[in-house]
């Protein structure tokens, strides 16, 4: 029996599928609790439904991207393990890197089915699990304290502190997100300008061009929303912009 047949055996599907199912149930429990408490404290049910619709539409395209990560890893690690990793804790951009690095650490040159052994697989699987588990570990030990401190910071201890910080929480969150987006857009600029040698303008320009198309598409969606007072468009504008930008990537890539 080849190693890939072993890694794709029904028993592995059962083990990994069971964990995925358990995590799906956790999501359902959290969603139901949030919905119920929202109703109980008088939140607008329409808002909660819009959240569910917007999040579901938003998640489809990135999920297909994540599925590609499963396919990419399935050639060397079988299908069940990458399926589990990318459904639970894992992240598309980390998982492949960690798997590659873990493979090297156990003495395999890159991820390849021809060199994979059962022992190497179980060691890589353990490394993949341990390397990216820390967010969950920190949550267990400090999420309560951390969120309580954040709330205390928002309410402030004195009148002066309260007045200085009042209304800044939302701006700070927006600013943090702007910082996050800026770091990534900046990396696309750097990749293009200096990716092929400093100031050579010979690096990969596709991510920057795709980001620009995504931004343009979003600008059109926002204009339509404002012009026709169509607030519903917000639920689909990100997914729509991504779809347009990803389609553009197919055509732009031919120009490279």
């Amino acid at each position: 029996m080849s190693i890939l047949s072993q890694l794709n055996s029904p028993v592995l599907y059962l083990i990994c599928g069971g964990i995925v199912l358990a995590v799906a149930l956790m999501c359902v429990v959290f969603a139901l609790r949030a919905y119920r408490i929202g109703r109980a404290i008088g939140m607008d049910v329409t808002k909660m439904r819009r959240t569910v619709v917007a999040s579901a539409t938003f998640a489809v395209l990135p999920s297909v991207g994540i599925l590609l990560g499963v396919i990419a890893l399935s050639g060397s690690l079988g299908t069940p393990w990458p399926w589990l990793r990318l459904s639970v804790i894992g992240a598309l951009h980390y998982e492949t890197q960690v798997a590659e690095a873990a493979a090297e650490a156990v003495g395999i040159h890159g991820l390849s089915a021809s060199q994979m052994t059962a022992k190497a697989f179980s060691t890589i699987a353990l490394l993949m699990s341990v390397c990216i588990m820390w967010g969950m570990v920190f949550s267990i030990f400090s999420c309560k304290r951390y969120t309580s401190r954040l709330s205390a910071g928002k309410s402030g201890s004195g009148e002066k502190k309260r007045s200085a910080f009042s209304g800044f929480g939302d701006t700070a969150m927006t600013a943090m997100f702007i910082g996050l987006v800026s770091a990534y857009i900046g990396s696309y600029v750097g990749t293009f300008v200096s990716g092929g040698g400093r100031f050579a303008f010979a690096g990969d320009w596709l991510p920057l061009a795709v980001a620009a198309v995504g931004a343009l598409a979003m600008w059109v969606f926002l204009k339509i929303r404002d012009r026709f007072d169509a607030a519903w468009i917000d639920s689909f504008s990100i997914a729509g912009s991504m779809l347009i930008a990803m389609t553009a990537a197919i055509f732009l890539a031919r120009l490279r």
């Binding site: 028993v11 999501c27 959290f30 459904s87 967010g135 969950m136 979003m218 930008a245």
Partner: protein, 232 residues
């Protein structure tokens, strides 16, 4: 229901969210860490702990630092319920964070409020379930779907999911916040241009970029507050 009762109910909800979040996180950790051993026992090849520790020392510590940064940045954005779920289900940067922030904006929830906590949890739970369903369907249909999804013509589209996402998000958030966005964008662009090797550490660069943006936002906030004060 009066306001006091609502607040008590919400406090009770938060308390049980932490209990449940911790319980679910511990359970997920146990399942994830035991899976390689269970699979190893089934394959008659338990993990090689010597190789594991060597690997952990070479790559694990890097991810540990990255996870600390992510934890500090994302928890304030996601709230309690959202954070537990997001760290259990993963894919934060390319899905959960933008999804929760977008949902918050769509309904106009203010940070630190009960509404924000609930919207964030709903958003992350929904997006996680969608991913789980898409991946399960994809795995089920892997053989017929593989040639389509892996066709060379479609590769550029799937290689650029994150740029497509951040381009759209940049337009949405830069618009109306350009004074906050201009400096971090310029600084980050210049930094990556002058030190292109930093591209591999973009997730670490979120911290300085976010700090610049928050610093600017704070200055603008104070100036606006001072102007409003003098106008009164």
């Amino acid at each position: 229901m009066n306001e006091e009762k609502k607040q008590a109910l919400y406090a009770q909800y938060l308390e049980s969210t932490h209990r449940l979040g911790r319980l679910f996180s511990v359970l997920t950790l146990l399942m994830l860490l035991s899976a390689p051993f269970v699979i190893g026992a089934y394959l008659d090849a338990l993990p090689d702990m010597g190789s594991f520790w060597r690997g952990f020392l070479s790559i694990g510590l890097v991810y540990l630092v990255s996870c600390v940064a992510e934890y500090l940045i994302y928890v304030p954005m996601l709230g309690a319920g959202g954070s537990y779920l997001a760290f259990i289900t993963g894919n934060l940067i390319n899905m959960k964070i933008p999804c929760a922030v977008t949902a918050r904006d769509i309904v106009g929830a203010k940070s630190g409020t009960a509404e924000n906590e609930i919207i964030s949890t709903l958003s992350i739970a929904t997006s996680s379930l969608v991913t789980i369903v898409v991946l399960a369907l994809g795995v089920l249909l892997l053989i017929p779907l593989q040639p389509i999804l892996q066709s060379p013509a479609l590769q550029p589209a799937f290689d650029n999911v994150v740029p497509a996402l951040f381009g759209a998000m940049a337009c949405k958030y830069y618009r109306g916040n350009f004074k906050i966005a201009a400096l971090p964008l310029c600084v980050m662009s210049l930094l990556f241009v002058f030190v292109p090797s930093l591209v591999g550490s973009t997730s670490f660069m979120i911290l300085p970029s976010g700090a610049i943006a928050i610093g600017l936002a704070w200055l603008l906030h104070r100036r606006r507050a001072a102007e409003e004060g003098s106008a009164l």
